[in-house]
Amino acid sequence: MSEKCIVCPCEDVTLADVEQAIGLGYLDIDEVKRFTGLGTGSCQGKLCMVTTCQLLQTAQSADSQRQARQPEAQKVPHPFTPRPPVVPVSLGVLAAGKGADRER
């Protein structure tokens, strides 16, 4: 059943894919994103993030050894690192800015 349940519609990542990642011990959203590719499509994670966090919350609370295994990991599920731009912006609009002259 989980093969037919889509978590990330942009990149066709199924529940089974996420469960496989969790089964391998990838319990942080940054790991799951890069192992399955979810959240990297045209909506940039807007559709899959909450579902993924919920799955990771369940998996993390069931795993009492995680802290010992990954001491520096965040203890609760967290969102993806936000990547600008917030909404897609065309190259033409961006090129009209004065990037070359702008101070840092």
């Binding site: 391998l24 011990g25 520096e72 990037g99």
Partner: protein
């Protein structure tokens, strides 16, 4: 060994003793771990401060090319691309290698003169790079602005890979062979108790070992400093963007050496590319995104390929280059600390060089032949004066 112990995500416990501790779970560390394990070495622990793919290995554009200005790099990359071609069958993972070539656009006659020498050197090494007229280049990429360049260099055997599966391939294969990977684990101290005797302290406990390999990339100067060694390399932020997906139309990776622009179309259809942007370079790793990069990148990209102006940018991110003063890596043991090995200073091309460097490093550590790269790339060259410099560096 429990079931989880064999998993690449992170091993249950850190051992108290090991033969080899590798600092850094990027492609260099995982590649060397895999190649060592393949040669029968056990007792290898890889310590990664965050998750696998968190550093430059998960943030780069995936370019793999043979077009370089030094014979050393040309020959290494010929071998590395051969390894990439066999990666899927050896490690059972699809790294999406696509050999669409690299097309370097040349903007001035002076630059053309320099590139003619470089291409002659590449040809002597057996790389089929050709100098093209603008008309010939336009046959390969008809969408280029025809007035933007005077000539181009083209090697059809260069290509691009998708970096993420490359790392998972090494990590899973290394785990299968018994390598212990520890993610979200920080190295906080390294003590040398004598030649080939170290204690590495981490947030998961301390481990005694005979050998430490510094594969920490942009973080490698900080790791070396734990042993009192000053490295001449430094981190430099390099930004990159990806657009929405387009129908496949762009075969080669296109680059402009004079501005540091490069872009290619990924197998997912996105245009992925970056450009050189000055930064503060204060010795710290900075991974923040800047509007300035988006504007510079878009302006330069559209000057080369104006038809992309309606294409939208989906995301931008940054990765840390590990910049060495002469553009060549830093390898081998510093004289002062036998048993402490360096694999750093790869200046934004460590990803493409990792397959070949990892293989030769493992051979060296297992008593096999010593590749000339290890003599050429010693740390001591920076005191003794360096003879050549790699100049074909993008970004």
């Amino acid at each position: 060994m429990s079931a989880k112990e064999k998993m690449p995500a992170s091993a249950d416990r850190l051992a108290t003793e090991a033969e080899t501790v590798i600092v850094g779970g990027g492609i260099m560390g995982l590649g060397i771990a895999y190649e060592l394990a393949k040669r029968g070495r056990s007792d290898i622990h890889v310590i990664e401060q965050e998750y696998l793919t968190s550093g430059a290995s998960g943030r780069n554009g995936g370019g793999v090319r043979m077009q370089w200005s030094t014979e050393l790099n040309i020959r290494l990359m010929q071998e590395s691309i051969e390894i990439c071609r066999n990666f899927a069958s050896e490690l059972g993972i699809n790294v999406w290698l696509r050999q669409g070539g690299y097309l370097f656009l040349i903007r001035s006659q002076e630059e053309l003169g320099r590139m003619e020498q470089t291409v002659a050197l590449q040809n002597r090494c057996g790389v089929p790079t050709r100098i093209l007229t603008p008309q010939e280049a336009l046959r390969i990429v008809p969408e280029l602005h025809p007035k933007g360049f005077v000539a181009a260099c083209y090697n059809p055997r260069d290509g691009v890979v998708f970096p993420w599966p490359f790392l998972w391939g090494y990590a899973h294969a290394a785990s299968e062979l018994g390598v212990h990977i520890h993610t979200y684990t920080k190295v906080t101290a390294i003590e040398a108790r004598g030649p080939h005797s170290f204690v590495v302290t981490t947030s998961k406990g301390a481990i005694r070992c005979e050998r430490v390999i510094n594969c920490a990339g942009a973080w490698s100067p900080a790791i070396a400093k734990l042993l009192g060694i000053e490295l001449p390399n430094h981190p430099h932020r390099h930004e990159i963007l990806a657009t929405e997906s387009l129908k496949p139309f762009l075969n080669p990776l296109v680059s402009v050496l004079s501005s540091g622009l490069y872009f290619s179309q990924s197998m997912r259809g996105e245009i992925v590319g970056g450009i050189t942007v000055p930064d503060v370079d204060d010795g710290q790793v900075h991974l923040g995104s800047r509007l300035r990069f988006l504007e510079m990148m878009s302006a330069e990209l559209l000057s080369v390929m104006p038809c992309l102006s309606q294409v939208r940018v989906l995301r931008q991110w940054a990765g840390p280059y590990d910049v060495s003063p002469d553009g060549l890596p830093i390898l081998g043991e510093p004289d002062a600390v036998p048993g402490f090995y360096l694999a750093c200073g790869f200046v934004g091309h460590g990803f493409m060089m990792a397959p070949v460097i990892a293989r030769h490093y493992a051979e060296l550590l297992c008593g096999g032949p010593r590749h000339p790269v290890f003599d050429r790339c010693r740390l001591s060259r920076f005191q003794n004066g360096t003879s050549e410099k790699e100049v074909m560096i993008i970004g």
